[in-house]
């Protein structure tokens, strides 16, 4: 029914020296069906990457011995095209250029949400797989990822850019709980004021559109507010 990549058991190579961070990233990715291999140093990471068994490489920039950027450079120089997401603590805005120029597919600023990392991995996956994966579908519900339109039994609803990004984020992991902070960071960027009710207002608008599309029916597809903590998509 859906085009969920989790079912494919994607393999991730995580290169991160900080044990505590590696722990929760590993457990978070495992919980979402990824298979994670963890390396602590740049050298080990490079050796593992050379085997080319991974779907993604999540690479910390600040590593003992050999730093992430030089590992990335070497990987690309060897002609390995595995998508790379950089983890940076230095400065996401200052360092992103160099990383992206060296051939990284995306970057994540510490601190980050594992959910956000998962969402980014899916975006990269979609970009690589290309057409045929441009629709998220649950029953009669379709979210067209290209035209950004929501449709239900032939009826269509337009979504604004923010509404689309938010709905796609929730729909990628149905049943998964997302807090306001996570949603805010994914949709509005890390610097947006966390105290505004912008997430709630936006959710309200999406709900209205969902209700309008399922006119008269029993709202089989909807967004749940969970315990005042956050929201989840219920197909």
């Amino acid at each position: 029914m859906s085009t969920h990549q989790e079912k494919l058991s994607l393999r991730v190579l995580l290169v991160e020296d900080e044990q505590k961070i590696a722990d929760f990233v590993c457990s978070g990715l495992n919980a979402r069906g990824f298979v994670v291999e963890h390396c602590r140093t740049g050298h080990q990471g490079l050796e593992a990457a050379k085997r080319q068994e991974h779907d993604f490489i999540v690479l910390d920039i600040m590593l003992p011995g050999r730093d992430g950027l030089s590992v990335l450079k070497e990987i690309r120089a060897l002609g390995i095209s595995t998508p790379v997401v950089l983890l940076t603590a230095r400065n996401e805005l200052g360092d992103r250029l160099e990383g992206l120029e060296l051939g990284a597919d995306d970057y994540m600023a510490k601190p980050f949400f594992v959910e956000e990392l998962v969402a980014r991995l899916h975006v990269i996956r979609r970009r690589i797989l290309g057409a045929g994966h441009d629709v998220l579908q649950y029953g009669k519900f379709r979210l067209d990822l290209v035209s950004r339109k929501l449709s239900y039994e032939g009826r269509e609803a337009e979504l604004t850019a923010r509404e689309f990004t938010l709905l796609e984020y929730l729909m990628r992991a149905p049943g998964q709980l997302f807090t306001r902070a996570q949603i805010l960071e994914h949709v509005w960027g890390y610097d947006f004021d966390p105290t505004t009710n912008v997430v709630d207002v936006c959710i309200k608008r999406i709900r209205n559109k969902l209700a309008l599309l399922q006119d008269g029916e029993d709202l089989s597809v909807h967004i749940d507010a969970v315990r005042g903590v956050g929201y989840r998509f219920k197909p």
Partner: protein, 477 residues
């Protein structure tokens, strides 16, 4: 205020006064010398005339015929200022000029001390040698009122005795008229012009190394802190100055780097524990066993987000301070960009009292991520401190060779003091902060730095006390 006169003008003034003084002294001395020479010339002229008289006197009176020519030679205006006397021993005759005071005879003249000029040996027309003694002498006429001083030349020959006297005042008048005045009228303007020129050149010459130094100092921009001034080509006094300036720059750079590294390192060190904390909370929130702790965890997550926010801003600011902010400039469709942010504003504030005026086809060249951050900060500011039911206005238009975007909103009254410190780091208005305590006090200063890094500006426009109007100017595509 004397202290406000530029150094160059002071040097010029002093130089001008000095040169003028020097020139006046030279002119005065020269004139003195000239006057002496002139006086000597007059005496020589008088002597010549007396000699001519002594040698030519025969039968008729030589006096009146001579008076005119003597006067013109001496350049005096009136023959009244001349006294001519000739006494012929052999013929027993005395001739006197017309203006001779009748009651005074030769003895009525009170001669002063007489310096004797050399005796001339003159060949007469007849071929015999006559000796003519010409004396330069001064006298006063004893009964003359007003008291007049006469300068005279006397001559004595075998045949007779006589003198020509001239009023000293007439001489000095003539000297003034024919010597001093032309001299002054030429020398004074020339010397003034020369003095001015000298003063200007001297002050320029003195100020040149100072100007050069000033230009070099200006050339050291904040982002080029490692640049130092070269000691080459400066005078020894300036070398000391340049050396101490360089030493000061060294110290500044060192402490600056320390400070920048400190905030960067501190922010960096904070990020790892924050990441761990955020990850743990995220995990716990998804753990059904921990549902009872939801509110606690949620509160923790909000605080962690807040901390992350501050840390990120500090890192970015330290990057700006260190001059290491790299911009990824692209052409941005500014109309859509602003519309997207207006959409967020609408989500937060509702569309009531939201006035929007955005020109179409606006284009700005800049770093999209950074500019998003700039506008997120501005929108957050409206969300935090704007009045709940007050108006908000967004205007974007082409202006002054760039694109100007103004966000204005109604707020609680803000004092002038608060406005002056609007962009200070960590500054928050005491009254406004009561509305919302989650601000970091870094958003606007960061927004300003981002605008300036783009060669643009962010300023608080003057407005009514209860209105905040922020204007962003950014360069065109």
């Amino acid at each position: 205020m004397i202290s406000q006169i530029p150094l160059r003008w002071r040097i010029a003034t002093v130089a001008l006064l000095l040169t003028m003084g020097l020139l006046s002294a030279v002119v005065w001395l020269a004139q003195d010398q000239l006057l002496k020479t002139e006086r000597q010339d007059r005496i020589t002229a008088l002597c010549l005339d007396v000699r001519r008289m002594a040698l030519n006197v025969r039968t008729e009176s030589p006096v009146n015929s001579m008076a005119q020519s003597v006067a013109s030679r001496l350049r005096i205006t009136s023959t009244n200022d001349l006294l001519i006397y000739w006494e012929n021993y052999t013929k027993g005759k005395v001739w006197r000029s017309d203006n001779w005071p009748i009651e005074i005879n030769k003895e009525g003249l009170l001669w002063k001390e007489v310096p004797v000029t050399p005796v001339d040996e003159v060949m007469t027309a007849k071929g015999s040698v006559t000796s003519v003694v010409c004396e330069r002498a001064d006298f006063v006429i004893t009964s003359d009122i007003p008291d007049r001083n006469w300068m005279a030349a006397r001559a004595q020959t075998a045949e007779g005795y006589g003198f020509i006297a001239v009023d000293m005042k007439a001489i000095s008048d003539a000297t003034y008229l024919y010597v001093t005045r032309p001299l002054l009228s030429l020398v004074v303007p020339v010397s003034i012009v020369l003095s001015l020129l000298m003063a200007w050149l001297l002050s320029a010459f003195t100020m040149r190394p100072v100007d050069r130094l000033a230009r070099s100092l200006v050339g050291i921009a904040p982002e080029k802190r490692n640049k130092r001034l070269s000691l080459e080509g400066y005078y020894s006094e300036f070398k000391t100055l340049v050396a101490s300036y360089n030493a000061m720059l060294d110290r500044l750079e060192k402490s600056y780097e320390q400070a920048a590294r400190f905030s960067s390192d501190a922010a960096h060190e904070l990020k790892t524990p924050l990441t761990v904390l955020q990850g743990r909370i995220e995990g716990a929130l998804n753990d059904p066993k921990l549902e009872v702790c939801d509110q606690l965890l949620l509160g923790l997550q909000t605080e962690v987000s807040h901390l992350s926010n501050i840390t990120s801003r500090l890192l970015l600011l330290s990057k700006v301070d260190a001059g290491q902010l790299v911009l990824d400039r692209v052409n941005i469709d500014w109309t859509s960009f602003v519309q997207a942010h207006i959409g967020d504003l609408e989500l937060i504030k509702g569309s009531n009292d939201l006035r929007v005026s955005v020109e179409s086809n606006l284009c700005v060249q800049g770093d999209e991520v950074l500019l998003h951050q700039l506008f997120s900060n501005l929108i957050s500011n409206v969300a935090r401190y704007g009045l709940a039911h007050g108006w908000t206005e967004v205007v974007a238009k082409v202006h002054e060779g760039g694109v100007v975007t103004t966000i204005s909103n109604q707020c609680l009254p803000i004092s002038a003091d608060s406005r002056a410190r609007f962009f200070d780091r960590f500054y928050r208005d005491n009254e406004l902060v009561k509305l919302d305590q989650n601000g970091s006090g870094l958003g606007l200063s960061l927004a300003k730095e981002i605008a300036e890094a783009h060669g643009g500006s962010l300023e608080l426009l003057p407005s009514a006390e209860d209105v905040v109007s922020l204007k962003v100017w950014l360069p065109n595509c």
